[in-house]
């Protein structure tokens, strides 16, 4: 099956006062039709920068290398017109903070209608009907009435639903969801995850889910790419990754995640010692080496590459003894 989105050797470097700063280093992954790929990692690992470079949202100080192919069209280095026709239409993006991404002076209906008219060319009536339909799709009760609400009249969860409705208005091939539930309470998060699941089932939208929360990954993802310090260190089918993590960082991350009902009697959480390194300092080494309990000599002298196959790992000394975490 041909992937809808293919990212190959994507690198992003920022110009800063302290010289070039590498944020993403030769990241590759593919997203199939109707697949949910979770890109998971901690702050500073480059997951958001990766997502923004796919949507062409990076600032001018960023230099992007490599290839991002959407349904066969190369996005890196594409001219502005191509990008504009793709962005919002073929690739849609939802952000962490729904309030700042909605325009406070227009009703939510107006904003959705605007998207439908500019991108698809629907007339006003058709667009209005479609807007109501979209709000129903994302589970907003009494959508006919809510269409006339301003963003500030909605709760945080409702706003994120509106953002999702806007994002899928043009029936995009790929939806990039950057920490879509991080700013929301858990009881509201559950509803949003439900909406995303519904989109995939009903519209067949491929989703790139950027998150730090392994619970969210477990809930929604088909496949997972674990990022650390700008590189993908492991990628696998979701059940396989959680059951048999091979990269020591993945193992550490899984052990450190608290979950209700899983730490019954004063069991300690696992820690990962040390600090996240600055990527630009480590060209020829595994970036995780100095925090890794399994590091061998090769780890500090040579950078491991991702292996081939369905479960790929970039590690010189992967965990292969199939320890249950």
């Amino acid at each position: 099956m041909k992937p809808v989105l293919a990212v190959k050797d994507l690198s992003v470097t920022f110009r800063t006062e302290d010289g070039p700063l590498s944020a993403v280093d030769r990241v590759s992954f593919e997203v199939g039709d109707g697949e949910v790929l979770a890109v998971v990692g901690e702050s500073g690992c480059g997951k958001s920068v990766t997502a923004m470079s796919i949507a062409g949202l990076l600032p001018r100080t960023a230099t992007v290398n490599g290839s991002v192919e959407l349904d066969g069209t190369e996005l890196i280095g594409a001219d502005k017109r191509t990008l504009r026709s793709i962005r919002g239409r073929e690739v849609a993006y939802i952000f962490q903070e729904p309030m700042t991404s909605l325009n406070p002076v227009f009703t939510v209906g107006h904003q959705i209608i605007e998207v439908l008219r500019t991108h698809i060319g629907l007339n006003r009536q058709a667009a209005h009907a479609r807007a109501v339909e979209l709000l129903k799709l994302v589970g907003i009760p009494s959508a006919e009435r809510r269409v006339g609400d301003y963003p500030h009249q909605l709760s945080g969860g409702m706003r994120q639903r509106v953002m999702i409705a806007m994002a899928v208005a043009c029936d995009p091939k790929v939806l990039i969801a950057d920490e879509p539930t991080t700013a929301l309470d858990v009881t509201i998060q559950a509803g949003i995850l439900d909406v995303l699941r519904g989109l995939r089932e009903r519209l067949g939208t491929s989703i790139v889910l950027i998150t730090h929360d392994l619970g969210v990954v477990a809930d929604l993802a088909d496949r997972v790419a674990v990022m650390y310090a700008g590189r993908v260190v492991e990628t696998a089918e979701v059940h396989d990754l959680f059951a048999h993590p091979e990269h020591p960082y993945t193992v550490g991350l899984l052990g450190a995640s608290p979950a209700a009902g899983r730490h019954a009697e004063s069991q300690r959480l696992n820690e990962i010692p040390g600090l996240v390194p600055v990527l630009s300092e480590q060209p020829d080494a595994c970036t995780f080496a100095d925090r890794c309990t399994r590091a061998v000599d090769t780890c500090t002298s040579s950078q491991p590459q991702l292996t081939d196959g369905p479960h790929r790992v970039a590690c010189w000394n992967p965990v292969r003894d199939r320890v249950e975490v």
């Binding site: 901690e42 702050s43 009760p141 709760s155 945080g156 969860g157 409702m158 639903r161 309470d185 858990v186 009881t187 509201i188 998060q189 559950a190 509803g191 995850l193 439900d194 730090h212 929360d213 392994l214 619970g215 969210v216 990954v217 477990a218 809930d219 993802a221 979701v238 059940h239 959680f242 550490g252 991350l253 899984l254 052990g255 450190a256 995640s257 608290p258 979950a259 209700a260 009902g261 899983r262 730490h263 019954a264 009697e265 004063s266 069991q267 300690r268 959480l269 696992n270 820690e271 990962i272 010692p273 600090l275």
Partner: protein
């Protein structure tokens, strides 16, 4: 003889028309950890700020180690300050960027006009897993996790009876969060202070708290020993909260279905009559819409719940789909 590090009786805090806290009663025994759990807008942080008297409560009483501090002036409060400290959520905002780490950690002692501050600062830094040399550094040179350790070192340097920890790990990455939670657990066990751990994340406190109190819209809906709350949650809101947090295990997570409560949290300016949770409760009946539920003890260890539908023996509706029930 004082058994309780903290006694909060019918605490009320209104900001103009906003009824942020409306009748919270809470006790923390010496050397135990109580987790105060709630989502945004529940008023949990406001309770914390009343306890450390950053706010003067509108009503009710706050007793620290037996002493009523509810309405004491700043000056009269000073002798009680050493009994309580606070750690905040934001590791960037809770340390003065113009001061060195040593000055920050030593400030409580300086305010008490103690001597030998630098030795104590070194000790305190070591206790939280930092080298004493960190005292010379500026806060912005440290990572988020290290800053939070500095905050903890500062809060504990005056050896308080009670530590109020207001979402101390919520802004941290998962792996760092684990380290800080472990540190707090170790320190609590070794130093024996009482702790009010305020959080939105039930899973973060499961192995730290002795007791759990759940807040919704300014009121406590359920409280009790940890094992009871996690094992036999009685209030529909507690049940929903437990089922909503996804577990990092795909097989298990996909088998459970969260209770969907709807997104609209009622306003604290005009809270719903009767049970405040009735607008989002999947099992609410007519009584819930009109009559305010009383707090009742339903089990051993002081398990209390405020819900009409829970019977006196603790049985009642379980809003969670069957596969989500514990055991």
């Amino acid at each position: 003889m004082v058994d309780n590090a903290l006694e909060v009786e019918d605490l009320v805090m209104h900001f103009g028309p906003v009824r942020a806290v409306d009748g919270v009663t809470l006790r923390i025994r010496q050397g135990t950890v109580v987790a105060l759990v709630g989502e945004s807008g529940s008023g949990k942080s406001t309770v914390g700020r009343c306890i450390v008297r950053l706010l003067e409560p509108t009503g009710g009483t706050v007793r620290l180690a037996g002493a009523d501090i509810t309405h004491l002036s700043r000056r009269r409060l000073r002798p009680h300050r050493r009994d309580v400290s606070i750690v905040f959520q934001d590791p960037a905002g809770s340390l003065d960027p113009r001061l060195s780490v040593g000055d920050i950690v030593g400030e409580p002692l300086r305010l008490m006009r103690r001597k030998d501050i630098s030795t104590k600062v070194s000790e305190s830094l070591q206790r939280v897993g930092l080298r004493p040399e960190v005292a010379q550094r500026a806060p912005h040179e440290l990572s988020g996790g290290q800053r939070q350790r500095v905050s903890i070192a500062r809060a504990l340097i005056s050896e308080p009876r009670l530590l109020v920890a207001d979402e101390p790990t919520s802004a941290l990455d998962v792996s760092v969060q684990a380290a800080v939670l472990n540190l707090l657990a170790d320190l609590q066990r070794d130093l024996g202070f009482a702790c009010l751990f305020i959080t939105h994340d039930l899973s973060a406190v499961e192995y730290l708290a002795d007791e759990v109190a759940v807040m919704y819209l300014g009121q406590l809906v359920e409280q009790g020993p940890r094992a009871r709350i996690f094992g036999h949650p009685a209030h529909p809101y507690t049940q929903a909260l437990l089922s909503a947090a996804p577990v990092p295990d795909p097989a298990e997570q996909r088998a459970r279905r969260p209770v969907l409560l709807g997104d609209d949290l009622p306003s604290a300016i005009d809270p719903p009559p009767g049970c405040r949770f009735h607008t989002r409760c999947p099992v609410a009946v007519d009584t819930c819409r009109t009559v305010v539920p009383e707090r009742r003890t339903i089990g051993e260890g002081g398990h209390q719940v405020a819900c009409h539908l829970v019977k006196d023996d603790g049985t009642g509706p379980d809003v969670r789909p069957t596969e989500g029930v514990a055991q």
